[in-house]
Symmetry: C2
Subunit: 310 residues, 2 copies
Amino acid sequence: MILTVTLNAALDVTYRIGRLRPQGSNRVRATAERAGGKGVNVARVLHALGRPTAVTGLVGGLTGQAIRGELAAAGLADRMLAIEGESRRTVAVVEESVGDTTILLEPGPVVGAEEWAGFLDHLAALLPQAAAVVLSGSLPRGVPDDAYAQLLGLAHARGVPAVLDADGPVLRAGLPAGPDLVKPNADELAAATGLTDPVAAAGALVDAGAGAVVASLGPDGLIAVTPQGSWRARSPERLVGNPAGAGDAAVAALTLGLVTGTPWVDRLAEAVALSAAAVAAPLAGDFDPAVHRALRPRVDVQPLHRPRSS
Amino acid sequence: MILTVTLNAALDVTYRIGRLRPQGSNRVRATAERAGGKGVNVARVLHALGRPTAVTGLVGGLTGQAIRGELAAAGLADRMLAIEGESRRTVAVVEESVGDTTILLEPGPVVGAEEWAGFLDHLAALLPQAAAVVLSGSLPRGVPDDAYAQLLGLAHARGVPAVLDADGPVLRAGLPAGPDLVKPNADELAAATGLTDPVAAAGALVDAGAGAVVASLGPDGLIAVTPQGSWRARSPERLVGNPAGAGDAAVAALTLGLVTGTPWVDRLAEAVALSAAAVAAPLAGDFDPAVHRALRPRVDVQPLHRPRSS
């Protein structure tokens, strides 16, 4: 199975209202709750594709219970580790009259040093069953800055390939541990390298330790810089919809490609098609299977000349 | 003990943020949670005054568990009845930079007919220990419109005096059952009667079945229309602060007066002082004891001429 790690798992709550009145009292028409965090989204996509997957990470309190209840309802194998603190909620306030969304992000729990040590043991016990491990998203407070480097070290010690999808200092701290793949978006790529050209920036991340880099550039598709070559992959159509979860769908496709050893051109076509199908679905972690099937044979993948970054 | 009933109990959540960016992503700096609903606030005030009290009502789901956990932490005797649905949350988003608050109110559970029948039995079993019962706030979905009339009938059948603090059609539906006291605010009084003069409107509620009416008019204090006479009571000072919970503090004072048979002039002075002390405290259900002590002897209570409402 593919094991996804969501250290800062969340309960994603959606409030539907007519129109938000700031500084006023707003009646919520309907609420919905779903387990969230990027690793959970990756696992949802893998599960919908019929691939064995399991989710791990840290959850706590009654919100943690709600996360686990929703994972069970979604049929996702739950290998979360319980912590003392209360898991965070994200609240998306959707204004039905205009389609705007206001997001409130709780700060989440503080993880103790013993809890972190316990998670290293917990992950080590899960790795023998894992074909690959996906490390996604932000770190909760209290977890060391090099948390992903520690987890990558554990995975590689057991010969398990690992994908890292993180941002800023958390991404940079993971690179020396040699993730097999990193998947920054355009902003994350620029912030991590200080370079504006995405191909040069992706090359800089390879130079810093990444086995391969696939950067998601929104409507401009994906670029890949790998030991086997560099490519740009684009959707034949521009889809409008919900971009949340599109990157997680790409990670799901790229991780499957890593596990099965599919040629890069096919991996990238699959990642673009699945990502576009995720944009077409209203909730992060879902994708529209008809869009996926229709786009898959039509994705354009072209070799790229990779400039030297140094 | 004084039993307070909160059929639509809530978990009141506070999010502290710098400044709310509508249609943006907002990081919450700190969260706080507290059991809420008007009856819970009344019980908090009674408990802080050292008076025996207990809270009942309907709670469900993980949010219901959180409500019960917070009641226990606050030392309030919990006689809530569990239901299948998930209790509601209210989210107050406080902008620390400007002091503004945006409120989001979840719709709350739908109560089944059998659950409502179960609550009637549950309340009947609690009434023998109750010196008075306080019925406060809105009704959850699924509960009959005349819910408070049914509860008033149970209380009176066992000789327990009852206070009703409700709004609009829910208040009107309760009046024929003869609540010993109702406590509308100015808006509720006008909405329930269509009359703009508060004294005439209070008289109309007495004519419709209320044993006595005490209306809270914000900075204009209280007016009381009772079988023993009519009065206006005012604070000697205008306090600025948080008006949420001020009405609940007045209900706590008035219910104590009902139980102990204190003369109306004293009940009203206590209600004004406690209400003002609640305005001086940041959270609904709390009051500032120093403000309460300082104002109590200085409240001005004057007899009123009661015009006929018909």
